[in-house]
């Protein structure tokens, strides 16, 4: 006791430790009042493509040449690989261009989006009333806080790595370059159709905030359940070693890409 008092006197103000409280029975019961987003959600890929054409990204003029060149390469059958190194599509590109399913989990104080195919495709959206940290460490999916407005989850995301792409396809995108801010309103537009209305504020690469919407369709058939998907597994061949053990044998690759791909010469 005396030692603790002495330490306090010497160190000045005690450090404030923010504790995450244990959820109460009432917290768990409150989840039942939220809309039902259970099941597996498959993306509307045709709608993604249609919306990107109908409402193109307002790229800054100085980036237009880069985007045009990427589009030309893709059209010519020489797509630049934005994600060939298996790094996550990140925010907001996961929501914008994914071809893969996701599921949504509600727990007290949090909504969690779990996606398929690239291993750590995961968004944690804190709904416990906290704000963003003053200077969050940038991550692929950023720091997300949310709150419910009726049946709509309103999400605010900052702290996304500047190197991650604002992508309109798997071959066309520009790194956000920092200061990215994404606002979302996620809600059921029909009993089994989820809409994610996005407002993407990327002042370093866009002339104005870009608003667009993405659709996801609910599936309940068990064969639609999310399966584990580790993108990097594709960098290995499943073989036997000299002892007969089942092993992953790394495929040769350079700069995160296999040394040869169909349609591309080895670098």
């Amino acid at each position: 006791m005396l030692a603790a008092l002495l330490a306090l006197l010497l160190s000045g103000e005690p450090e404030t430790v923010i504790m995450n409280p244990a959820p109460t029975a009432a917290d768990w019961a409150a989840l039942a009042k939220l809309p039902d987003w259970s099941g597996v959600w498959t993306p509307g890929i045709s709608d993604q493509v249609r919306r990107i054409k109908a409402d193109p990204v307002p790229w800054k003029p100085e980036l237009a040449a880069q985007v045009k060149a990427l589009e030309a390469e893709e059209a010519a059958g020489r797509p630049k690989g934005l994600f060939v190194d298996c790094l996550p599509e990140a925010m907001p590109s996961w929501m914008l261009i994914s071809h893969n399913a996701m599921e949504v989990l509600f727990t007290p104080g949090r909504v969690t989006l779990l996606g398929e195919s690239d291993g750590n495709r995961l968004r944690r959206i804190y709904t416990d009333g906290r704000g963003h940290p003053p200077d969050p460490d940038p991550t692929f999916h950023g720091h997300s806080i949310g709150h419910w407005e009726g049946q709509t989850l309103v999400v605010d995301t900052v702290g996304v790595l500047p190197e991650t792409y604002l992508a309109v396809s798997e071959a066309v995108g520009i790194p956000n370059d920092g200061d990215l801010h994404v606002l979302e309103r996620i809600h059921l537009a029909a009993p089994d159709v989820l809409h994610d209305e996005l407002e993407i504020i990327a002042p370093r690469i866009l002339t104005r905030p870009w608003k667009t919407t993405r659709l996801f369709y609910r599936q309940r058939a068990r064969k639609y359940d999310i399966v584990e998907g580790v993108c990097l597994q594709g960098f290995f061949a499943e073989r036997k070693d000299a002892h007969g053990n089942a092993v992953f044998v790394p495929l040769p690759h350079v700069d995160g890409n296999p040394v040869a791909q169909p349609g591309r010469s080895p670098p």
Partner: protein
């Protein structure tokens, strides 16, 4: 050559074979979706891994000792499972007929449209656009 050295050689040869693989998360723009090629052959290997499943086929040709080895890509195991596939849809040695959209550059590869496995009598196809509605069975 000792048995273990022989096995190492087999392993290395297998790695060399798969080095052409585009086992990364990528666009499918390198495939020509205006063209459809049909080929018949024998399954060399069925690689059931993310992010893209790959079917290797030894296509029937003039010289059975030197078959053309085709590399056929599709979507992920999760998406294929939803379309009725499994990792046992194709097995090494199975006789198959495959429809594909070929690589634009003329290499022996393509995006798989449909495979008819003559050995098992089963047919599998894949089109994510077929999953763009809710409550599919």
């Amino acid at each position: 050559m000792t048995p273990s050295r022989l096995l190492v050689c087999v392993v290395l040869a297998s790695v060399a074979l798969t080095a052409r693989s585009a086992r990364a998360h990528h666009s499918f723009a390198m495939f020509d979706f205006e063209k459809v090629v049909t080929l018949t052959g024998t399954v060399k290997e069925f690689q059931w891994t993310n992010p893209h499943v790959v079917l290797w086929v030894n296509a029937d040709g003039k010289d059975p000792k030197k078959p053309d080895v085709w590399y056929l890509e599709m979507t992920s195991p999760g998406n294929l499972t939803r379309g009725g596939w499994s990792r046992k849809a194709c097995n090494a040695g199975d006789r198959v007929t495959v429809e594909l959209n070929p690589l634009r550059n003329g290499d022996l590869g393509g995006a798989l449209i449909k495979v008819t496995n003559q050995t098992t009598g089963q047919t599998f196809s894949t089109n994510l656009r077929d999953m763009e509605k809710p409550n599919l069975k």
